[in-house]
Homo-oligomer: 328 residues x 2
């Protein structure tokens, strides 16, 4: 496999000049550049990232650690982050831990070995040591959608979002409000729940029922909502702490012959594409996920370049009114 040395020989120049051409650094005369580029193409030269990394000590790569890729939220996040990083001249090293600590540990080791310039980490399980190891290694760290000790954090104000959901339902005249959600251990979910409860308390109310499931999966969410309904509680509105949970509630309601929104209003959270798939379309609180991803990249760049962190506020959450809510 042709190396820089062979290129230099054939082009009648030195390896230093070839390196300059390959990296676009330093001065090279147009004639020389053209000649070298020709030889590079001829010999199908492919630079060796290992050698470059060894010399440079850094890789212009940013690790992106996510718990899953088959979950829409993370898929979108990965996409936005990749775009942002690319635009700034960095490559994304996307890793998904698949909820497995073993995977996670191995990918963290791989990132460290790869000498990534930083890591953007999205809501990994609480008992994971990934963040700690990264911090210990002195790698710039940006947490997305959760807080991590020693790391900059970028996330929506889930508590405010919870208040918003309750507020909107209250404004519609609903008083008997039930809440369903999952996964129960997720911090954002708990914060939204707290927001809902607090806002209701201010109105002298409390949820008529709360039910959180362990798994954030459609079928499981339907079951959680069905179980709640089976207790016989009477609600005139239901809060889904995520869009999936709201969709689960709608299906559970439907199975019982209860109409949405005529009998019961339903509101979700996230505004993922799925919110628009149901009929009627789901009213939900939109989470500015793309802005979150973009801001995470921006903070990472600042961290890596030593610039001051921005204290920019996240775009506000907002209720997207669609068809599953109605005045009481």
């Amino acid at each position: 496999m042709a190396g820089i040395r062979e290129i230099a020989e054939r082009a009648g120049t030195s390896i230093a000049t070839v390196s300059r051409v390959v990296n676009g650094s330093g001065y090279v005369s147009p004639a020389m550049r053209a000649k070298i580029e020709t030889v590079i193409a001829e010999l199908q030269f492919r630079p060796n990232a290992g050698a470059a990394l060894m010399r440079r000590g850094k890789s212009r790569m940013v690790g992106v650690l996510l718990p899953a890729l088959d979950v829409k939220f993370f898929g979108i996040l990965a996409h936005v982050i990749e775009q942002g990083l690319f635009a700034r001249g960095y490559h994304a090293f996307i890793c998904c831990s698949s909820e497995s600590p073993e995977h996670e540990a191995e990918y963290v080791a791989a990132m460290l070995a790869q000498r990534v310039d930083g890591v953007i980490i999205a809501s990994v399980s609480a008992e994971s040591t990934a963040a700690a190891r990264l911090v210990a290694a002195g790698v710039p760290l940006v947490a997305v959608d959760r807080e991590i000790a020693g790391a900059v954090s970028v996330r929506a104000d889930h508590y405010a979002g919870g208040r918003l959901m309750a507020d909107y339902l209250l404004g519609l005249g609903h008083r008997r409000i039930a809440v369903v959600g999952a996964p129960q251990h997720a911090m954002p979910v708990q914060q939204r729940l707290a927001g809902v409860s607090d806002r209701l308390a201010e109105a002298g109310l409390e949820p008529v029922a709360v039910r959180l499931g362990p798994r954030h999966q459609f079928e499981a969410c339907i079951e959680v909502a069905a179980a709640l309904l089976d207790t016989g509680v009477v609600a005139d509105a239901m809060v889904g702490l995520t869009d999936i949970a709201a969709l689960g509630a709608i299906h559970a309601l439907h199975a019982k012959g209860i109409r949405v929104p005529e009998d019961v209003s339903v509101i979700g959270f996230d505004d993922m594409p799925m919110a628009r798939y149901v009929l009627p379309q789901l009213t939900t609180v939109a989470q500015p996920i793309r802005e979150i991803g973009a801001l995470a990249v921006e903070q990472m760049i600042r961290l890596m370049t030593g610039a001051a962190l921005s204290h920019e506020e996240l775009p506000a959450l907002s209720v997207v009114v669609r068809g599953t809510t109605a005045r009481r």
Copy 2:
């Protein structure tokens, strides 16, 4: 930053032995191993992947090139492939081209520079040169969901799937069948369409209307279906060449006050989670996406290890009957 040399010094041994411990290769006495591991932990030693790559010439990494990560199909695929690769001792280098040739070219270069042991490439735009460059570089290549010259291909039989859709509708007594889909340039979509048309032809029929949109996005799909409906064609069943397209058809139908499945039956293709979100839930042809991902990994392993390729048949496609189809 501590290197293997320093570790050796502090442990009172040679770098060769340290290397053996780090890589778990060769013989090292338990006592020596313990001592070295202690020092490694103390100094927070992190191996340098660049140096290792330079020496070894390969990275035990497999590139995974996808057009997007925020599309459910690819998210699931990436997830399955990552899992399979991990289980075989390889790391996945997941790259998404974001539909941009520029991104794609750069990631291909990065993969080449990284000396990946192989690349699994999923349906990238036809005019991309990615596959060609990879083939030229002699990198083992497995194409998923599309065919690429010079590469092993793993994909569902979309043509058969198309026939299956038509077949099922025909069996229900439908005769006036319209077809909508997107993106029109995608080979799988065209193959499904061919399957539908051929099966109808065997029954002496042809689609009452066909409409393909350029973008596979929910809103765009609704518009495509609405435009088809606006022409005034009378159909008693609609085929969505993807689940999204089918969902778009349902929404367009709904907007016109046409009931599903009472007035018009709708069938989709893929069986993504979204098929279950709508009410009634979508009847669709299930694509064995997880098996496809797993098989792609298996073929890649065989390619890399020089084993014979398997000629295993893909699990058959099947109609998942849910609520959007009814007897005429």
